[in-house]
Each structure stands twice: as C-alpha cells, then as structure tokens.
C-alpha cells in the first residue's frame, strides 16, 4: 500500500494531557477515507454530545491524497459539533497543516477534554509537548502566527472571538486560511487550546502505490485545469482569486443585497476582481502543490468572494477599503466573515439602519465589545433576530448564515441550502458549478426539475472530495473520474468512481443521521420565509420571482426518497443498518 493512505490517529486528552497514537482498523479508514469522512466517523461514535462538552471531539484529518502529486489535494478537514448550528460540522482548510501532519506520520488528530489553562500544543514527528500560551485574549492572530513562526511547520490557532464566546469563531491556519463556518474556533477554545503546531520531516511523497498511474492522473487533471476558463482563463480564479465571481453573480442578478431583500447591487463594481486589481495590485499565492493559486494578497489579505459580497452588497456598502478592513478584523480576531457580515446585515434591517464604510468597520469591531448588542452579535443572526423579536430577518438555515448566492436565482442552490448537513452552506453540493458556471453542463437555474437527484449526487461527490483532501475548485475542471484514478494510484486501493461515490453517500447519510439523533427533522430543512414570498431584483431579460413553496417541497420530498429518508427527513431504519458497510460490491 502506498504511503498516501494511512490511518494513524493521534489521540490527545487535554484534561490529563495524555496522548497516544493508534493505527485505526483498516476497515474504518477504507470506509471513511480520511478528511471529512474520518471526522464524521468519530462524531458518530457519540452523536448526542453537546458541542462544548469536553468529551466532544475536535478532529483534524488529512485527506487520502495529501502529500501526493495529485494536484490541489493538500486540504485538511476540521470537524466537530457546531456550537452555532448544533449539527455535525466539517470545514475544509488550505495551508500546509495537512502536509505537516503527514510528514509527522499522523493522519488524524483527535482532541477531547479541557485544559485548565490556555495551552499551545507542539507536535514534531513523534514528540508532543504542551506549553502555556503567552498571549492575552486580545492578541491578534497575526501576532500569534508571527510568534509561532520560529517553530517552523504549520500552525492552527484561535483568536479573541473564540475566547469571547463567539458562536461563529473560526480556526485560522498559517495566518491566511480559515476554518470559517460553524464556530469550530469556539470548540478549540473550549478545550483551552490557543494554538496547535505541527512539524514533520518524513518523506511522504516517496512511494505512491503506482507512480506511473499517479503521473497519468496528474497529467490528465492538469490538462483539464488548463482547459478550464473558470480556473485558468483570463478572468478565472487563478487570475483574480474568487473575486472573479463578483461580476458574474451581479450579472445573474443573484447577489444577496440588503440582507437578501434585493438580489442586485449597483455598487458591486467597486469590489469586483478588476477593481481590486486596480486598487490593490495583489499577487496570488497557493496552498502547497496547487496550481490554481486562488488566494490573493497585497499589503493586506484580499477577501474571498463571499466576504466581498457580504461586507459589500449584503450591507449595501460599495467601499472596498472598508470591506478589506472588515475582513482583516475577522482574520485577526478569528471570526467567520459570512456569519459576521450577515449578522450585521440582519441587525441593520431590524433597526432600520445601514452600516457602510467606516460605520461597517466599527460595527465589525464592536462584535468584540461589551454590552448586550455585542453579546447578541456574537451569537449569530438566528439568536439575534429571535431575541430582537424578528426571527424572520435571520437569513440562515439551521442557524448557519447563507453565503453569497441568492437561492431565488438558482433553485438547485435553494434545495442544497436546505439539505446541507451543516446548515446553510453552498459547498456541500455547490450547484453553482452547473447552474451558473455550466460545469459539467448547464442546467436550468430556474427549475427544480431533476435537481433532487443532482443535489444528492453532488453531495456524495463533494463528501468524497472533502475526504480525499482535494479542493472543490479542482472539480470545476476535473471530475471524480480523474481523481478516482489518482486515488487508486496513490493508495493502492482499487476503488473506482462508483466505489468512492458509495462511500460519499454513506458518509453524507451518516451525517444526516447524526443530525437526526440531535433532533433535526424536516422542519429544519426550510429556507427563510422571505425566499418564498418576496421577489428578487430582476433585470434585462431576467426575472427573479419568489420560490414556489409547493415546488420546493416537492423537490425536497423527492430528495428524501432518493437519500433514503423517511417523510419527516430522518433516515429510514433500513438505510441506517448499512451506514458502516461502505463497500457494497
């Protein structure tokens, strides 16, 4: 078996500071692959724990392809129960952390317990040490990463937001990459871990199972990348980062504006890719081994598309400098930008206010402040709106704030928001690929026809992507067909596309089952009422009517049948029995 596929888990108990390495049963690792799959496996062992229970695990897991020559496959997944949504939650993170874990011959780090003081953990090959953290609660994350840099390797850390109890606190990796959604930073802080540093020196790339087949898969994937206008074209993600999507979403009249009251923002050209290039002259950089190089930096970090759109259009703000500043505050304090921007937009609508420019920056800064409003802002839009007597103003699903694709402009996206196992997330199925970008082929964005199965298959596919450590952007060009060949070449496991999809189906269905155990049912698979009653903003040749609730429910019911759910959205008993038997051939 090639070294690309391992199943060594480092268990850390923060209460006792005991650690041990364990090689997991190969049946488990072959059934869950790595990354998100392994996270889901561990969460499923005790599905009823609350997010901040010391016994609830925080899991860092590499993908099966991490360290291989297969392009764009160095992602790490961080998993835990979300304090924001109470669902299972896994976040894909770039940076060098996954590779350093592999170099330390660790595939998974599983952390439970709670330290009695703020602690840094250092892992170097097979040695592990714990140190008291020297920083104040308010120390900016950039300072923490700077202080850690002499240690070498890669670091994950939490900031002030986590220590102030922000429900959408993020974990930052290598100062630039965020595990943003769902508040996993709060989980890390609840264990009193301020930073986790890994450095290894093993040569993990030395022995793929079949080097020739690995090279063939790599070549096929690179050729597809080069042929992809979305990735490598003049205006693709390589050239502009994800800000390349700003103009596209504006042109399709599906850019959430004014807390989703509208779907078009006149001022979006102020934070488009060309505007950023002109104002900031950024350079691009990448996760290790990724030719797409989607990240952009000038003197300061350039925000991602979601952040640009939400600190921009969602708050009716056309001031680029304030958007960049707001993003910087989130990065320095460790907050999810989507939830922060959306919670502020929600507050603005309830109060009849508008926070733009410096006022927006101040409002973001105020999240770390004192007083009842700051407390509410840290709880996210669902709690804030409920507490202020306007629950309908929270634009979230399962309390996770929706990202920057208005569901009235892409019906697959509407369904995918509802069925996502971590709440209102675009990445679990990413139907934008076919509804807007036309990959692999274009589908009718204003129709639910066929979307139930499309979403289900995409959820399964993206679960595999997250479990092998690949980047979802790669799948705007390549497909599981090419990555399955890479997987087999690296690991020596003769899994093909459908084997992987079956595993993806099982992991996703297990996530849904865990959520059911935690009390989630059909009533939670609903979009905010606004989307069924209020139209978006039309334009030349484009109408954005409200979603037809009957059609939405009909699609949801079809989805349930296809996913193996009962009519109430829980997983059927017959399906539960097979969840751990992932290879059914």
């Amino acid at each position: 078996m090639g070294k690309g596929f391992g199943h060594t888990c480092l268990f850390i108990d923060m209460t006792s500071r005991r650690t041990h390495r364990e090689v997991l049963d190969s049946e488990i690792s072959e059934a869950f692959l790595g990354g998100r799959g392994m996270g889901t496996y561990f969460l499923g062992l005790e599905p009823g724990l609350t997010a901040l229970d010391p016994a609830a695990p925080l899991i860092f897991a590499t993908g099966a392809l991490t360290g291989s020559h297969i392009p764009s496959s160095g992602r790490m997944m961080i998993s835990a129960f979300s304090p924001l949504t109470n669902t299972v939650c896994s976040c894909s993170v770039g940076g060098g952390f996954a590779l350093e874990m592999k170099r330390s011959l660790i595939d998974i780090i599983h952390i439970t317990g709670r330290s009695d003081k703020q602690t840094n953990i250092f892992i170097e090959n097979d040695s592990i040490s714990f140190e008291d953290s020297p920083w104040d609660r308010e120390t900016p994350l950039s300072r923490i990463f700077e202080d850690l840099s002499p240690s070498g390797g890669s670091a994950a850390a939490v900031g002030e937001a986590a220590y102030r109890g922000c429900l959408y606190a993020s974990i930052m990796v290598d100062n630039s990459f965020a595990s943003g959604r769902g508040g996993l930073g709060l989980v890390m802080a609840s264990k009193n871990i301020r930073a986790l540093v890994v450095r290894g020196n093993a040569h993990v790339r030395a022995t793929p199972f079949d080097p020739e087949a690995e090279e063939k898969a790599r070549t096929d994937i690179i050729r597809l990348f080069d042929a992809s206008p979305a990735l490598m074209g003049r205006s693709g993600i390589h050239a502009y980062g994800t800000s390349a999507l700003v103009d596209l979403m504006a042109s399709r009249h599906m850019m959430p504006t004014a807390n989703f009251r509208r779907t078009f923002f006149e001022g979006s050209t102020a934070f488009s890719g060309p505007a950023i290039r002109s104002e900031e002259t950024p350079r691009h950089y990448a996760c290790r081994g990724c030719p797409i190089a989607c990240k952009q930096k000038s003197a300061r970090e350039i925000p991602e598309f979601e952040t640009l759109s939400h600190f921009g259009a969602l708050n009716e703000n056309n001031d680029l400098k304030s958007i960049i500043e707001a993003n910087l505050i989130c990065n320095e304090t460790g907050m999810d930008t989507i939830s922060a921007a959306s919670t502020i937009a929600c507050l603005a609508e309830i109060k009849g206010a508008r926070y733009t420019g410096d006022a927006l920056v101040e409002k973001v800064r105020s999240i770390m402040g004192t007083g009842s409003e700051a407390e509410l802002l840290r709880k996210g839009s669902a709690i804030l709106a409920r507490e202020l007597g306007a629950p309908g103003k929270s634009m979230s699903v399962k309390s996770l704030e929706l990202p920057a694709y208005d569901p009235r402009g892409a019906y697959g996206m509407a369904l995918a928001y509802a069925t996502s196992t971590r709440g209102g997330c675009h990445l679990r199925a990413y139907p934008i690929a076919h509804e807007i970008l036309g990959k692999p082929v274009k589908t009718d964005r204003f129709s639910f026809s066929g979307k139930a199965r499309i979403i289900k298959i995409a959820e399964d596919t993206n679960t595999v992507v997250d479990s092998i450590g690949a980047c979802k952007f790669a799948f705007l060009a390549a497909s599981l067909e090419e990555y399955a060949k890479g997987f087999a070449a690296v690991t020596g496991l003769a899994y093909d596309t459908q084997d992987l999809l079956r595993i993806g189906d099982n992991i996703y269905t297990l996530e849904r089952h865990i959520n059911s155990i935690r009390g989630f049912t059909r009533k939670d698979d609903m979009l905010p009422e606004r989307f069924y009653t209020e139209p978006g903003t039309g334009g030349p040749g484009i109408e954005i009517p409200p979603l037809d609730k009957g059609q939405f429910f009909s699609a949801l019911e079809r989805y349930y049948r296809i996913r193996g759910c009962n009519p109430d959205g829980t997983i059927a008993e017959t399906r539960i029995k097979g969840l751990l038997l992932c290879r059914t051939r």
Binding site: A227, S228, G233, P274, S449, R453, D460, Q498, L501
Partner: protein
C-alpha cells in the same frame, strides 16, 4: 426530465448521430425513471442501481459511423484510445465491452464517461443531465471517426508506427469515403455585418446553427465570436452552437469585467487574434477531415508549423496553459485569416461577418477531404 428525454432524442436525430428514434434509448432519473420507451428494461434498472447517476443513453450510431466503429473493433480491443486532442483531454479513452451486461456496463462506466458495447452501440451517462450523456456519445462518434481515418492514412504512408492496412482495409476505407460528404451545405449566412447587440446575437445564432447543421462541429466543442468596437461577444464554455441565445458572453476588451469566466476555453486565443488582426468574426469548428489531415504525418512539435493545402497547421493544447494554442494560433492566422490546430480543429477569422468565415471553413474541409482521398490513392 421528460422534456430532456424528448429534446436529446431530437438532437441525436437532427445531428445525424442516429438514424431514427428507434435507435436510441434515453433514460433520466430523478426519483423515478423517465424515458422515450414505454417500459424500462430490467437491465437498465440494474445499471441505475449500480451507478450513482441520473441519466443514461444507449444509442446505435447511424450506419456509416457504426461501421467505422466496427472496423476499429476488429482487433478486439478492450479500450480505444483517441488520437485527437479534445477527446484525449475530455474523454481520455473509450472502454469496449462485448454485450449489454449490466455488471460490465457499470464497470466500464465506473472508469469512463461512456463506452462502446459491441452488440448495442454507445452507452453513456450523466450525473447532472442527459446533455452530458449526449455530449459524450457525440464525442465518441467524433473520436472514433477521426482515429479510424487517421490510423489508416498514417499506416498507409508509414507514419507514427501504424501498421500498414491490408488491401481489404483500404478498399473498406475507400468505400466509406463514397458514403461521406465533407460537410452538408446550409442556407447562406447574411453578408451584412450586424450593427448592434441584438443583431450580433442573431448573427451568432445563425452561424452556430449553420456550423452544426453542416456537421462542421460534431459535438459541443466549437466556439464562435464577434467583435463590435471594444467588446467581444463569444459563446460560453460547453455551449452547443445550435443553442446559443442565452449562452453568449459580452467581454469588454479593457478587462473591466470578469463575466467572461463562463466564456469559451479559447477566449484568450480569440482575443489575441482580434488584437493582431482586423478580424471582426471568428469561427472555430471541428471539421473531421481537417482534424484528420492535421495529424497526417509524424507527430507534431509545439512551435512547429506545417501546411495543408496552403493552410498553416500549428500545435497547441486547449486553453491558455504553457503549451496552449493561444501561443501559436494567432500568429499563424495573420496571413490567411485561417489555421488548423493539430488534432483539434479549424479557426477562421473574417474582417466582415460570419458569412465569409463560414465559407472558408467549408472550403478548408472540402479541400482536406479531397487531400485525404488523394493521399489514400497515392499510398495504395
């Protein structure tokens, strides 16, 4: 889903890929299976049970295409490896299986997007829509056609290590040529340049339909554009040239918008051609004999230029990568406003309208067809 079934059945027939409605079975699955057949055979249900897909196409190609595929199957290959660059990029290779056994079909479709079933035709699938299955079926027809004629002519002249065809194989090839026309003429395009956006979309719609109708693009892979002032209008990536309205991007040349992220993979090449020339319209198609003749001879090196019938042939891969055709094609088009990209297709520019460009693509294809016949004769 039923709409998709009906639409792609119509397209299979209109594109000349199958002879009639009885030659294609189309299945679309959401929570139930939709089809052009009254009943869904158990074997088809078994394929759906085995695969996480939402559409399946089983089609017997029209007789000439199927005869050509059958010739390629004579050596009982397990897999057919295409020679043209687009097929290599997007479908890689084509598994071959003996009969419609659900297990064998599932195994083949686990590996690739489509396969050839010796006693049935081509089987392909989609995970998003029947359009994927249609595109793959069309691509397999194109890839096998190009491979057959390329291998014969190279073998005949001792190129690329191909075995010399037997006299029976040469006779068969000649017989195929009598049943093939290089392109199917369509009604002429307007020679009047469009003056506004509405006119441009109308002109692009007509030109795209003409290219498909004439079989100058065999699948979804061509692209076309038109320049008006400082704006280029170009077909989107993956768009079918006979369904362009709604799939045309407006690209300002000053780079003020990134909406072109959905544009054709060859946008960079189109832009460069416009920058270097006074062209106003560009057509890019995959006329089969132009592609075949571009591969006549020993393999081509990047940066090398050859000529076929006076038209330059250059190497270059799809897109704007290090060896992308954007680095070779635009220069090659300077003299004659036309060039062939090795193993890929024809690009033609016009300083006026699509009318002129379309005529030129057609004449290049006719010329290459004649050159092929001559090469076959001289080699024999």
């Amino acid at each position: 889903m039923q709409n998709q079934v009906n639409k792609y059945l119509g397209k299979l027939i209109n594109h000349g890929l199958v002879e009639g409605p009885g030659d294609a079975e189309l299945y679309g699955l959401d929570d139930e299976i939709y089809s052009n057949r009254d009943q869904v055979p158990e074997k088809v249900r078994a394929v759906f049970d085995a695969l996480n897909i939402n559409s399946l196409l089983i089609a017997l190609p029209e007789p000439v295409r199927w005869s050509i595929i059958s010739e390629l199957l004579r050596g009982n290959p397990d897999v057919i490896s295409p020679t043209d660059s687009e097929s290599l990029t997007f479908i890689h290779d084509i598994p071959v299986i003996g009969s419609f056994d659900p297990g064998a079909i599932a195994c083949a479709l686990n590996r690739r997007k489509g396969c050839i079933v010796k006693d049935r035709g081509i089987v392909s699938f989609g995970t998003v829509s029947l359009e994927q299955a249609f595109v793959v079926m069309s691509s397999i027809c194109f890839a096998t056609f190009v491979k057959y004629f390329t291998d014969i002519i190279n073998g005949l002249h001792g190129f690329r290590g191909m075995p010399r065809p037997t006299s029976l194989q040469i006779d068969t090839c000649q017989e195929f040529l009598t049943r093939i026309t290089p392109y199917k003429p369509s009604s002429p395009l307007s020679p009047i340049p469009p003056a506004d956006e509405a006119g441009i979309i109308k002109a692009m719609d007509a030109a795209g339909k003409a290219m498909v109708h004439a079989h100058l693009v065999d699948s979804f892979f061509g692209n076309i554009s038109l320049r008006l002032g400082d704006v280029i209008y170009i077909s989107q990536t993956g768009s079918s040239l006979d369904e362009l309205p709604g799939r045309i991007d407006r690209v300002p040349l000053d780079g003020s918008s990134t909406c072109e992220i959905t544009s054709s993979s060859e946008l960079s090449a189109h832009v460069k051609i416009y920058e270097l020339s006074n062209d106003r319209a560009i057509l890019h198609g995959h006329p089969r004999f132009s592609v075949i003749m571009s591969m006549f001879g020993e393999p081509f090196k990047f940066g090398e230029t050859r000529h076929i019938g006076g038209i330059p042939v250059v190497a270059g891969e799809v897109g704007a990568g290090r060896k992308g055709l954007v680095h070779t094609l635009p220069q090659a088009m300077l003299k004659d406003h036309a060039a062939i990209v090795h193993g890929h297709g024809v690009f033609v520019g016009s300083a006026h309208t699509f009318h002129e460009a379309y005529e030129k693509v057609s004449s290049i294809e006719t010329g290459c067809f004649e050159l092929y016949k001559e090469a076959l004769k001289s080699g024999a």
